[in-house]
Every structure is written in structure tokens, then in C-alpha cells.
Symmetry: C2
Subunit: 358 residues, 2 copies
DNA sequence: TCCAGGTGTTGGAACGATCAAGGCTGGACG
DNA sequence: CGTCCAGCCTTGATCGTTCCAACACCTGGA
């Protein structure tokens, strides 16, 4: 008892705010360290009255387990690594923002925190360097991998090193990958967008999409294609594949308007859709009234631009929830790998859809 | 030697990928653990040949110090907590995205990682609960506080608990706060925007800003006011204070156009500026050609909307760099608190500025 | 030859938690 | 009455690193 308070005193002298430890709680409650540990982690192992006593001591001291000590002993950090990609200035996409937010919230509820890192590709030349460092220093328990369509081989790299991870985005480059993943059926999204325009009476609906080397772009394009074919509508001369930039969308639309007389545009991204709207504005045409436009991502731009850009909205909040669910399975003992999840997007209808053409 | 390899074997049996430890490196290099530790943390303590030998062993085994063990011993995690605020749907602001990205990059170079958490205010009712948990479990070394204009008392709360933190945003509510902070001189930004319009020949320049209880809004408004006064221009009847929403900006602009015949608008946010552009579109007016509009934040919307929204751009990348710099001072021993930093925004000139009116 | 003084290296203890195994109680059962 | 067992709690060891104090080695001067 005496020795104890001496220890306290010396500790208090060195550290202004010294967090209470398991031992402090144990002493106050008159039990052993392990019992306090059990009270925190396996409360049902204790007798009710003991638990209450320990609990009260915990509250009284404001005890919280020391993260570092727990991490060391349990060989886990309860941290999840997420690599964020560079901000794309001049585009309309803000997909990550919503996803990250929902991810932080959901994983917090599951007892995990999200740790961010960047690719540093411009520094080291290796886009996977960030993963390597966190993995080898055992800083995170698992990763969440995005941007799988870039074909950087993140997934196979991580699997080789037996690092647990969940992908947001299907394994485009590896058909027999066995890791858990969650993705959004963007072909269904494009199909939804196209059908919406067909329902409104459009028959000449153009597609402004990404270049052929973008798997994601081809996937979205296939949704437009199947909706058009399903309705028996022509598609020849109505598709364009360009860079994902406002200017590209604009010039693609100009060409299309001159050569194919479309009455509506479906775009692979809001960025391209905004480009189409620029082209219309330059001709004195009003998006919606004269020609319909639908975008993809439901970005802030789509939400705020006049007169409101109809856009495919990805269920990113739901995606984050599914990712965390898969992660929990992966990190439980024994690890449980559930089936992969494919979510369906919705359509946010706004002014650029225009009135019905009947 | 024999015992060592037995240990290795049993370890390998339990953990598929077992990271090498300090002891492993020490044995391979034929030195003690402490020497390896020194090689990593204080290389200049070793003789050149010893260092080389240890370094080679480190490379050979691919050794990285175990984070948890190091954290436990040094009582620091090299993690920085950042609370992210809820995503604002339907607005144009995306300030955080750029700031967070730059922060992750800069702090990474300084050896720190960023850990995200949410306020959970809707769950616990206490916006500071997230801070408390991370602080008491010693999960982070420091915090970066944003949204200081909300008046939640984050700063004073953290100071009371002696938690190291740097604020992005000046201490609006506490004039004699002593913590380090970095902020952007948004009054100067609004002044810059207004001067730009004055230079173009405008004399009746309206202000669409936030409600009076927003300190940030009043600050920005003061920039407009001083530019107008400086040029000897009238301001009566030309200022409006509304909610930060597209619809509010739109109706405020309608009223203003009817009653005060302005030829230009300066807005407290891109969201409001977009609202003004809606009002113009509804009257068949073209932003830029007919009436000039300037926004604030240089959001993706400003960058992509037709014909390009002139907007005040905050130097968020620079802000993040300054924040990390302050943080490094704060976490060094002894802590060094430098002077607070105020940065000046720039103006991104686009189509809505319109031609010169001379 | 011996010692002072610096440089380079070492072994033991500590950080604060959990794991694994063992001890103590009281009641059930042969 | 002795043994066993289940329930509850305690003890000692351990995770991998860094801190601390001490030790071996070398050089130069007395």
C-alpha cells in the first residue's frame, strides 16, 4: 500500500496526466489484474457482485485499456488501413468522400478505426510501398482496397503476403480471386439511366463514356447497350469513348450533336455529363428542356448545378456497411469469408431528365 | 542456438507470417538487441562497421520495428486523430477533401499517420466523446481540430486535459487561447474577390452571406465591406444573410435583383453562388455576360459548372503543411509552440467574372 | 604499469495488457 | 468422510521494444 502510493507519486511527477492502469483498478477493487481484464473483455466470466465492484472502480478512475499494450499482447491493432487516391481537381467525382465517411462510422461501431495513407507513387515509384510499410510494422489488422479497376495488382500483392483485406470493387483482373469483395453493379446503373430516358419517350440516346481500356467504363457502357437493345433501339453512331474530363465530354457531345442527332445523353460520369451540358449551353440549348442528360455518381455538382443533373447514385453507405461486415468475418477466429456482395445503384431524377416526350 | 531455432519453429507453426523481431536481427548480426535498436533509432552511436553489419541483417530479414511494442515503450503512437464532419449533401463545399489529403501526405513524411473518427454526436449526444475515447486509451499522440467556428469548445476541452493539438481555424471563441493554430484569412479572400469586380468596373456589388451568428460569415462579409468602402462604393441594401444552401442563395438573389439592381454578386460560399446562378438562369440571364458572380471555396462545382465560377481558393495544401509543422514542434521534447499562422487565399478567375465593363 | 576518460556494446527491467495454467472454494456424489 | 468437479479468481510468463546502468575496450598521459 505504501509502496503503491510512492509509485503513484513518482509517476505523477513525471507525467502530468498519467492514465490509470489495470493494476490501479485492480487494487482499488481489491481483485487481481486478470479479473479486471476479464471484466472488460469477458464480463460473463465474473460473478455479478465482483463485476459491479470492478466496474465501479473502472468508472471511478476513468480507466481505459492502454491501446499499445493490448495491441502488443493480442497482436492486433484494431486499425484498418485505407489508401486514398489523389484529389482530382477539375472533375465532378467525389465518390470517396461519402464512402470514407460511412466507412469510418461503420467501422467505429465495430471497434475499428480507419488509418489513412497515400500511395506515394510519385516519391518511391512503387504504388504498393505504403501497404508494405504498414504491413511489416504490424500497424494495421487489415486493409480496405479501392480503385481495383486500375490494375495495380493490389489484391494479388496482399494475398501473397497473407494480409487480410476486403476490396471495394470486384477483382477485374483476376477472375478466380478468392478474397471478399463488395461492388456496385454499375452496368445496372447505366441500364437504369437509359431505361429512364426510354420511358420518357427518347429513341435516340447517345452514350458518352470512357476509353476502351477502362474496364469500368466498358461495364457501364454495357448497361446502356443492353437497355437500348432491349427496347429495340439503334446504337450505331451513338457511342463515344473519351477521357474523363469536362472538355472531352463537351467536344464529344458537339460531334455527336452534329452527326447523330441524339435527343438524350447518358454519361459514364458526372464530369462527362457536365461537359455535355457545356456543349448544350454553347448552342443556346437548355439541358432538360431541349435535350436530356443523365450523369453517373450523384456528385455535388449533379446535386447543385442548374437545373439539377439526373444521375446514378451509388449506395456507398451500404457498400461501407458490407465492407465492414466482410472485414469482421475476416478478422474473427476462425476467419469466415462470406459471399461477395453486389449492390444496385439508384437513379436520382432531376431537371436534366426533362419532361416526358409523348 | 538450438533453443532459438526451436522457438522459431513453434512460432512459425502458429503464425503463418511471423515478422522478424529485434532479437532475430541481433542474432544474425551477432550483436545485442540494444545495438540493433540503436542502429535503427540512433545510427550515429554505432561504429561504422557494426552499423553496416546490422543494416545488412535488417535488410536480409526485412525487419521493421513492431509498432505496438514501440508504442508501449515510448508512450507514443505516431498517430494523429482527425475528426471528420458529416458529408453535406446538396452543397458545393468540399474543403475537407483537399485538406485531409494534403494532411495525410505531409504528416506521412513527418512519420505520422492520420486516424479518422466521427463525432457520433447523434449517438451519444456528446460531440467530444470521440476525443475522449482516443485520448484515454492513448491511441493518438495529438489531434488536429477543425470546424473551430462551430463553437463546440473542442479547444478548451482538449487543453483542460492537456492533450496536444493544433487547430485549423483560429480560436474564434477564446481570444487568449494559447494553442498553436493555422487559419486562412477569409476576409482577405472576400476583399480580393470584391476588388476583382471593382477593377472590372462594377459599382453595385451585392453580398450574399451567412447568417449573423456565423463568425466565419461575418468575417468574410467584412472583406466585402472594406473593399467597397475602400473604393467609396455604396453598400446599403446590397447585403443579404441567409442559410448556406442553394435555395437560400437563389431566393436571396431574386429579392436583391428586384430591389437593388446589382451588377455583380460576391458570395460567402460556392453553394450560395450556385444559388445566385440559378436565379439568373430563371430570368434568362447569363452569369458572366449579364451579371458577374464570385463564389468562395473553389469547389469542384465552381471548377466544372458552365461557364466556370470565379471563386476564392483557400491554400489548403499549405495549411496542412503548416499544421504538421506546428504539430512537430508540439510533439518534440521540449515542446515548442511557434507563432500562429495566417494564410492568404487566392482568386481563381473563370467565366462568371464576365468581361470588363469599361 | 596503471589509471582516467571516452566510445561502443551489453543485459536486465520496464511499458500495460492478455494468455495459460494453477489454486481455492463449496457443493454433489459414491 | 473423502474425492471430484465446476465456478471463480489469482499468479507468473509473455508480447517486442526502449530505457537505464553497467561493463569491456581502447587510447593517451603520468
Amino acid at each position: 500500500m505504501l509502496e503503491r502510493s510512492r509509485l503513484d507519486a513518482s509517476r505523477r511527477a513525471r507525467f502530468a496526466v498519467s492514465a490509470p492502469t489495470l493494476a490501479d483498478v485492480a487494487e482499488l477493487a481489491g481483485v487481481s489484474r486478470q479479473t479486471v481484464s476479464n471484466a472488460v473483455n469477458n464480463p460473463d466470466l465474473l460473478r455479478a457482485d465482483t463485476l459491479a465492484r470492478v466496474q465501479q472502480a473502472i468508472d471511478q478512475l476513468g480507466y481505459k485499456p492502454n491501446r499499445a499494450a493490448r495491441n502488443l499482447r493480442t497482436r492486433s491493432s484494431h486499425l484498418i488501413g485505407l489508401r486514398i487516391s489523389p484529389v482530382q481537381e477539375g472533375t465532378a467525382s467525389a465518390v470517396m468522400d461519402r464512402f470514407v465517411h460511412s466507412l469510418v462510422e461503420t467501422s467505429g461501431e465495430a471497434g475499428y478505426h480507419v488509418l489513412l495513407f497515400t500511395s506515394d507513387a510519385q516519391v518511391t515509384g512503387d504504388p504498393l510501398a505504403g501497404y508494405d510499410e504498414l504491413l511489416r510494422s504490424t500497424a494495421v489488422d487489415a486493409f480496405i482496397v479501392t480503385d481495383t479497376y486500375l490494375g495495380e495488382g493490389q489484391a494479388s500483392w496482399l494475398r501473397e503476403r497473407r494480409a487480410p483485406f476486403v476490396a471495394f470493387g470486384r477483382p477485374w483482373d483476376d477472375a478466380n480471386a478468392r478474397h471478399p469483395w463488395v461492388d456496385i453493379d454499375c452496368a445496372a446503373g447505366a441500364e437504369l439511366a437509359t431505361r429512364h430516358l426510354i420511358d420518357k419517350g427518347h429513341t435516340r440516346i447517345a452514350w458518352i463514356g470512357w476509353k476502351k481500356d477502362s474496364v469500368l467504363g466498358e461495364e457501364r457502357r454495357s448497361g446502356w447497350l443492353s437497355a437500348m437493345h432491349g427496347a429495340g433501339l439503334p446504337t450505331t453512331g451513338l457511342a463515344s469513348r473519351v477521357e474523363d474530363a469536362v472538355g472531352s465530354g463537351r467536344s464529344a457531345a458537339q460531334v455527336m450533336l452534329d452527326e447523330a442527332t441524339p435527343t438524350a445523353f447518358v454519361c459514364a460520369s458526372d464530369t462527362l455529363a457536365i461537359g455535355v451540358m457545356h456543349a448544350l449551353a454553347e448552342r443556346g440549348l437548355q439541358a432538360g428542356d431541349d435535350i436530356a442528360v443523365v450523369g453517373f455518381d450523384d456528385s455535388q455538382v449533379a446535386q447543385t448545378v442548374w437545373p439539377g443533373l439526373t444521375s446514378v447514385r451509388q449506395p456507398l453507405e451500404q457498400a461501407a456497411i458490407e465492407v465492414v461486415k466482410a472485414l469482421e468475418g475476416l478478422l474473427s477466429t476462425p476467419p469466415q469469408v462470406g459471399p461477395s456482395v453486389m449492390l444496385t445503384p439508384t437513379l436520382e431524377i432531376r431537371g436534366t431528365s426533362g419532361p416526358d416526350r409523348s
